[in-house]
Amino acid sequence: MAEHHAASDGKHKASANAGGSVHGNSRPGAAGGGGGGGGGKGGLSGGLTQPAGWQSLLSFSILFLACLAGFSSRLFAVIRFESIIHEFDPWFNYRSTHHLTTNGFFEFLNWFDERAWYPLGRIVGGTVYPGLMVTAGLIHYVLNLLHITVHIRDVCVFLAPVFSGLTAISTFLLTRELWNQGAGLLAACFIAIVPGYISRSVAGSFDNEGIAIFALQFTYYLWVKSVKTGSVFWTIGCCLSYFYMVSAWGGYVFIINLIPLHVFVLLLMQRYSRRVYIAYSTFYIVGLILSMQIPFVGFQPIRTSEHMAAAGVFALLQAYAFLQYLKDRLTRQEFQTLFFLGVSLAAGVVFLTVIYLTYTGIYAKIHIPIIASVSEHQPTTWVSFFFDLHILVCTFPAGLWFCIKNINDERVFVALYAISAVYFAGVMVRLMLTLTPVVCMLSAVAFSSVFEHYMGDDTKREKPPAEDSSDEDDKRNSGNLYDKAGKVRKHVSEQEKAEEGLGPNVKSIVTMLMLMLLMMFAVHCTWVTSNAYSSPSVVLASYNHDGTRNILDDFREAYYWLRQNTDEHARVMSWWDYGYQIAGMANRTTLVDNNTWNNSHIALVGKAMSSNESAAYQIMRSLDVDYVLIIFGGVIGYSGDDINKFLWMVRIAEGEHPKDIRESDYFTPQGEFRVDKAGSPTLLNCLMYKMSYYRFGEMQLDFRTPPGFDRTRNAEIGNKDIKFKHLEEAFTSEHWLVRIYKVKNLDNREPLDHKLRSVVPKQKYTSKKVAGHILFCCFNQK
């Protein structure tokens, strides 16, 4: 009932704000949310009987709409295609979740997967963050318990959108703690639709990050809450949330470094208090013990360098608290301050070295080929910042400015969060994800401060502020006796402002323009989500001139072919990108997959792909390969195929086998990578080339181009007469996107090479060479 009421209310409000499209719909409502406080205040002076009730109803409806908008804007892929797991890593997560639901939790923890990394196998239970699978499994279990029979795949597909709603709520809570309710609502609306977060949480992208951002934000909320209250209850909540985060994503390291940093900076700012002491001591001990319960993490928290900062700050805090205790007993304060200086300097040096070490570590990792080959490990250009955050990237520094100007304990936290996250996002494009929440929060602060001052009339505002602020104060301080200098100053300024207004015209123009910016943001988000982040990449779509759509379902076609037509224990060799998909969809044994833990094994596959056929056959025999699967995009012009990735295979192979594989052999003398006649002969005869272009030379795609014209690289291929000796074509999908070859068994008897022993001595050459040699020897002796 309440929900219905809220929704209709929100819709009404949205239409009043002239919202248009389906997804834009929620946005003006959200923009109104910034003024939510202001609007509520307007109603307050109008003499409504229960202002608090109105406010909470409005907040609730806005939050609900934000969640709804977040959920529905993530459904593009499901509506356009179907309910399907996306990309690569999600397929592994899906497969393990499936294993979990069919075999139970303990079986999952002990799972040794003999179908991956043949012949090595992989201990899955001990090498994954199980939070994602357990969450999905639990939801599935509960739903089934209620006799809502849902397939586990649908739970997996819709998990990330559901969690984005929870993220919006926790962002609201955190921002409310940091600034005020209006900013919180704006932040919730921002995070619900911002592309930087949608990129990792569309429906079907069943990955750790989807739930981890919720855990991250919720942990931070509980941490801020526990620093504000100093109660063990909130801290234990924070630890539990941290435990969930550790179980879900490797990015928990960010938390375990940011919170100590916060405490350290608070100490430096002489903002030490008992609340901080209680919060951090409890958090460190309980959080440490809880995090060590995850098998994959194990003893890392007390061993590795990235956890040492936390331990150092813990020790420092104890020392500081002890000194504080002594200070009450002793009078020699000068001595103590000196001592404090020494201690903090030592801790600071330790802290800096740790940061320096991690920094160099990150830096070194960039140059390892297997890491460099993953496009997510690239540094970030300004375009991707703008693409993922749009208006927020320009305005969030303003929010940071306001936060630092009105500093208090929790705003120190958000400032540190922003600075560290922006650094990491600059270094690595995938860490944009951790930056996005803080950008939303700070932008919300900036927008909300503008709206707070520019929405509503001067005349009406004359009276309320004093009442309003006291009301707000009451509300905020009801639970605790917590008051900070920054807040008081803000209220003073609010009262000052009420004395003389800027006039209704200026105010309404500013408000209008700001709302316009926010609408543009909403439109941008929708466009980006729809165009850039909503393709499953398992199913491709192409559009004709008249707008009709072709679905290219080659991947699934090929994987199901493997599933139906090959032996259950057949081993399929492919480049590591497709390992998870083969395991997930075809249910066959793979050699390498996206869990790139064994570089030499990957290099071996790369070597097989980049050697000539007979050398490759030896490698494939030694690895018991039955089928080879490659992706070839030359027919439809698909650019993400194996030939375009080929140089990485060569590079990785060269890293391990520099004697046999040389990158320079695959280039033309001019240093170009070409597949046409001018290409290097090594390339034109390597296994990958032959498998990609086998029989392609006979194929004429259209009348303007010669037969064997590769549409991806716009070149006529150089080697059209490809014959195989040890392989045979087993399957080629409809658009030739996936090609599968069968590795033949050894012949009964190895046929002799009928090369006659050459008996004609090459005397001319030898004599000349020997003569030359002698001549030089003479020179040398002299």
Partner: protein, 313 residues
């Protein structure tokens, strides 16, 4: 027969002379500088039992070859690693030819780009693989060392002189700050100035969001000058890359939008007279609108197919 012997003797003395001369030069500086005459005598002229690795470059400032300088540094690192290694012999020498000192050499070898690395083997003609593929392999000293090892069988372990400048500077800075803080220990007010802290935090954030880290890692050029038309473009045409100038522009625009937002708030809250506040307010919203739409238009130019624009296309 006698003539042949004479010939041999002359050659041998010539060779040993050359080798001693080369060794002498190499002991002075690890990369031997050559001009046209030296090049013809020590590299082109036949009696030679040593390999030469030669960098053809243009280091004079008027040539404006930024890559040459970087390549030169790497080459020096490689040559020094070889020169001071225990395995140093007279089998390989490193030399460089500057375009302004030996342009005739460039003509002789029919070369029209710098930097170029060539290997002149101890015997036989240089082959295709004796030209280092700079475009493909880059000019990192490690890559060069691998190439040299490949061509001459001389393994060089690249030892980079550790760069003490960074840590030293940091230490110095910390010492200065610490010293200042100690001197003013009775008046530490300046540490509590929020404006300073807020301003430095903003600077850091703006630097990061404008992609300076990308510049730091990738090292793009400042701007691109079209050689045929002479037109300078400051904005890279693709969304995958950027020029340094472009990031500076973006940094300024971001800063302007931020400042606009701050001004808007200041206009509403400050206790100045109403006229000034109105000006501040208008300036603030103007800054936000103008620079954001400008930024949007730059973004649109880079991200092909982006449909939206605002105020300016």
């Amino acid at each position: 027969c006698y003539i042949v012997l004479m010939y041999k003797v002359i050659f041998c003395t010539l060779l040993s002379e050359k080798v001693t001369q080369m060794m002498e030069w190499a002991s002075k500086r690890s990369v031997i500088r050559m001009n046209g005459d030296k090049f013809r005598r020590f590299v082109k002229a036949p009696p030679r039992n040593y390999s030469m690795v030669i960098m053809f470059t243009a280091l004079q400032p008027q040539r404006q070859c930024g890559v040459c300088r970087q390549a030169d540094e790497e080459f020096q690192v490689l040559a020094n690693s070889w020169r001071y290694s225990s395995a140093f012999t007279n089998k390989v020498f490193f030399a460089s030819v500057d375009f302004d000192e030996g342009s005739d050499v460039f003509q002789m070898l029919n070369m029209n780009s710098a930097p170029t690395f060539l290997h002149f083997p101890s015997k036989g003609k240089p082959r295709r693989s004796d030209t280092y593929e700079l475009q493909v392999r880059g000019f990192a000293a490690e890559q060069l060392a691998r190439w040299v090892a490949d061509r001459t069988d001389v393994q060089i372990r690249v030892i980079r002189p550790p760069n003490y400048a960074g840590p030293l500077l940091l230490g110095f800075l910390l010492a200065v700050i610490g010293g200042l803080a100690y001197l003013r220990r009775h008046n530490l007010e300046f540490l509590f100035n929020k404006n300073v802290w807020a301003f430095s935090a903003l600077c850091f954030v703006l630097i990061m969001t404008s992609g300076q880290m990308w510049n730091h890692i990738r090292g793009p050029p400042y701007a691109h000058k079209n050689p045929s038309t002479g037109q300078v473009s400051y904005i890279h045409g693709s969304s995958q890359a950027q020029f340094v100038a472009e990031t500076h522009i973006v940094l300024l625009f971001n800063a302007a939008v931020t400042m606009g937002m701050v001004l808007l708030c200041e206009a509403a809250t400050s206790d100045m007279d109403i006229g000034k506040r109105k000006i501040m307010c208008v300036a603030g919203i103007g800054l936000v609108m103008l620079f954001f739409s400008w930024l949007l238009s730059i973004f649109r130019a880079k991200y092909h197919g982006y449909p939206y624009s605002f105020l300016m296309s």
